[in-house]
């Protein structure tokens, strides 16, 4: 596809994947062990783990954005993902527009959805106990799930080919096209978000609100619009995550089920840390893949889905604020 050609993308490719550097590392570290049994797949595990981790990181970012602004954990993130993927698919197939246009439409829709939900459902609950707010997001998840199914029927669909299907061959490892492009896409989004957060007025307003709502309010920042903005941004990241996942594994109403797995990423990284979300994403992606290869045979399968939660429990026991989170633990 033409749009994917621009120099920027290739620039990012070399920047993030660092092909040559990685090859060198692979050679250095594993050349000796290539022939010995299971060792030859270690580079592959690492590459795949990082690629999946990037996507997790993006979804985790959605959680973090909302948590930073409003101290809420949005358990409907998975449904936001599903909805985003379906909207994008519909625009692609019914309007027959090129992917970038469909993407923009989807993101616009997601932003609007985020704002509406914040206004109608979340705002009346400001100041309510945390359990109420969490339950509201769960109720929201149920509503969105039902609506998605009513509109798009429960069928499994496959996403039209939007990325070139060739895998990236790193000599010691192969990155399947879906994961590769998903990863790049996620990285681009995260860079954009990070820059926005760091260098724009809106970003400043969001950071100010996150650090102290009262002070932000007295400085003339509209905290309410920051809330709305955070929700729409979170809906956007979720929609992008949904499109990426849909592109890898097809779309159905159950696409959003991995939304909960991402909770372990944000706990590991720290609930309020953007860097934490990204790094946490990579770590969980790696752990998951290592567990999948080395523990599955010992424990009879499915370890990939439980390892993130085990990590989560351990982190909560020893370091609840995560790697990069703010330490505000009040001990009783």
């Amino acid at each position: 596809m033409n749009w994917a050609e621009p120099v920027v993308v290739y620039g990012l490719l070399t920047m993030f994947v660092k092909v040559d550097f990685f090859r060198a590392v692979c050679r250095g570290l594993f050349a000796a062990s290539i022939q010995e049994g299971t060792m030859d797949i270690i580079p592959q595990i690492i590459v795949s783990g990082l690629a999946v981790g990037g996507v997790y990181g993006l979804i985790a970012l959605g959680f973090v954005l909302i948590y930073k602004a409003t101290s809420i954990l949005n358990l409907a993130t998975g449904q936001f993902m599903t909805l985003g993927a379906f909207v994008c698919l519909s625009v692609l197939s019914y309007a027959a527009v090129p992917f970038p246009v469909a993407l923009v439409v989807t993101l616009g829709f997601a932003a609007l959805l985020g704002i509406i939900i914040e206004r109608i459902i979340l705002r009346p609950l400001i100041g309510e106990p945390i359990i109420s707010v969490i339950m509201v997001t769960i109720g929201l998840a149920s509503i969105l799930k039902g609506l998605t199914q009513i509109i798009w029927s429960p069928d499994y669909r496959s996403f039209p080919q939007i990325f070139p299907p060739e895998p990236l061959d790193l000599h010691y490892a192969i990155v399947p096209s879906g994961l590769l492009w998903g990863f790049l896409f996620a990285m681009v989004c995260m860079v954009i978000f990070a820059l926005t957060f760091q260098y724009t007025r809106t970003g400043l307003a969001m950071r100010a609100t996150a650090s102290n709502q009262q002070a932000a309010l007295s400085m003339g920042i509209s905290v309410k619009s920051v809330f709305a903005l955070s929700w729409s941004l979170a809906a956007i990241t979720a929609a992008v995550g949904g499109i990426i996942i849909g592109n890898i594994s097809g779309i159905s109403i159950h696409l959003g089920d991995i939304g909960l797995k991402v909770l372990s990423v944000i706990i590991l990284g720290g609930l309020d840390s953007i860097v934490g979300a990204i790094v946490g994403g990579f770590i969980i992606g790696l752990l998951e893949n290592f567990a999948g290869v080395y523990l599955d045979t010992l424990l009879g399968g499915g370890t990939k889905d439980v390892v993130p939660f085990v990590v989560l429990v351990i982190i909560i026991m020893i370091r609840p604020y995560g790697m990069f989170g703010k330490q505000i633990i009040e001990r009783v």
């Binding site: 429960p154 499994y156 399947p176 159905s252 999948g292 290869v293 045979t297 009879g300 399968g301």
Partner: protein
């Protein structure tokens, strides 16, 4: 009274409303009731909708043709959501409200959960969406039948096919972490041993898994000649095949009934080259078959916007045909009840389904005959790779 007070009363009114129809004595009717718990919503809904349509169409066609001894069939369907608790409730609701003589259920799990009660208490003819081997055990579950070969039979058909094509081949099973996925595995291990096939790997994944890298890596290491999928419908089959091809593996991929859908071929695209499936029913595009012709006409007449019916529809339809056949045979003998229906079921031999399947013969509460199919990548359809294969 305050508005909220009315809200409070609501659930109790609901209670009354729900119970009311249950307490009114049913008017003695002249219909034969067939109940069904179908997964209209939930994970399996994509198939449930079609199975439901197939079963219903078969029964309604029988009604149009005069019914059973002049009596019409009444089809009662409830949604089970592919959730065991919801499905069990629906099952019991239909049994206590309508008291049908035949029930159809939505999952392997529901069948196994209800099996003891069907055998000891309800005593009705039961079939389901599942091809589980355990349900087709005539000694333990005399009232339950499978409308085709069991999953284990399908594996056996495929393994036989492999043993003929490449004796001593390396085989891998790739199955889902569910009741449905694990059902044929133990029996198939034995078959592998018997056929002297080398079972090199067993990979397990969750339905709809996103990242199957670790499983694929395992396959890469063991490098099997054939991989058989079980317990998945779409995802992650496509991802697995894609990644295996990316790794340059030459493995041949195969699937059982639920892995032999057009939907999968659509998703696979060119990757479907060489993919094989096993399916006891003929497909929608085989227009020259009389029963398919009839189904197409019926669909055109009754469902304006439907232009394709997948093999899950055929499954429901064949089940319906078997139900009707049992009812006809039982009606000839005397009163219709679970026991007479089971007797009728056992007497089925070379039943004609208008070419939709091979002539059906009862064998141990199943009808173990199917074809192996090969994907045609250009047309995105399956074409027969064998004649009807019977398992005894």
């Amino acid at each position: 009274m305050k508005r909220s007070a009315w809200l409070f009363v609501l659930p109790f009114v609901a209670l009354g409303l729900t119970m009311a129809p249950a307490t009114i004595p049913a008017i003695a009717s002249e219909t034969i009731k067939i109940g069904a718990v179908q997964p209209i919503t939930g994970r399996f809904a994509f198939a449930g909708v079609n199975i439901n349509a197939g079963l219903k169409d078969a029964l309604m066609m029988a009604n149009e043709a005069g019914g059973i001894d002049g009596k019409k069939i009444e089809y009662i369907m409830e949604d089970g959501q592919y959730k065991l608790d919801v499905a069990t409730a629906a099952f019991k609701r239909i049994m206590s409200r309508d008291n049908p003589v035949i029930m159809y259920g939505e999952s392997t799990g529901l069948g196994k959960a209800m099996a003891p009660e069907i055998a000891s208490r309800y005593k009705i003819l039961y079939s389901s969406t599942s091809f589980s081997s355990e349900l087709a055990n005539a000694a333990e579950n005399p009232y339950i039948f499978v409308p085709g070969p069991t999953y284990a039979d399908m594996f056996e058909i495929l393994l036989n096919f492999i043993a003929k094509e490449k004796p001593g081949a390396k085989v891998a099973f790739f199955y889902s972490d569910t009741e449905f996925g694990k059902d044929p595995i133990p029996a198939s291990r034995e078959v592998c041993k018997k056929l002297k096939l080398d079972l090199v790997a067993e990979s397990v994944a969750k339905v709809g898994d996103v990242d199957v890298t670790s499983q694929v890596l395992d396959l890469k290491r063991k490098n099997p000649d054939y991989v058989i999928f079980q317990g998945f419908v779409l995802s992650p089959v496509a991802a697995v095949i894609k990644q295996c091809r990316d790794f340059g593996m030459k493995t041949k991929f195969m699937g059982t009934f639920w892995g032999s859908t057009k939907m999968l071929l659509d998703q696979l695209g060119p990757l479907a080259e060489g993919y094989m499936g096993v399916n006891p029913y003929n497909y929608w595009w085989m227009e020259e078959i009389p029963m398919i012709k009839k189904i197409r006409e019926y669909t055109k007449k009754n469902y304006k916007d439907v232009d394709y019916r997948p093999n899950s529809y055929m499954q429901g339809f064949v089940t319906g045909l078997i139900f009707v056949e049992c009812l006809k045979r039982a009606a000839k003998e005397g009163p219709i009840n679970g026991d007479s229906l089971v007797k009728a079921l056992k007497s089925i031999k070379d039943m004609d389904t208008g070419g939709l399947t091979a002539p059906l013969t009862w064998h141990d509460n199943k009808f173990p005959v199917a074809k192996v199919w090969k994907a045609n990548v250009e047309k995105k359809i399956f074409e027969p790779a064998s004649d009807w294969i019977r398992i005894e």
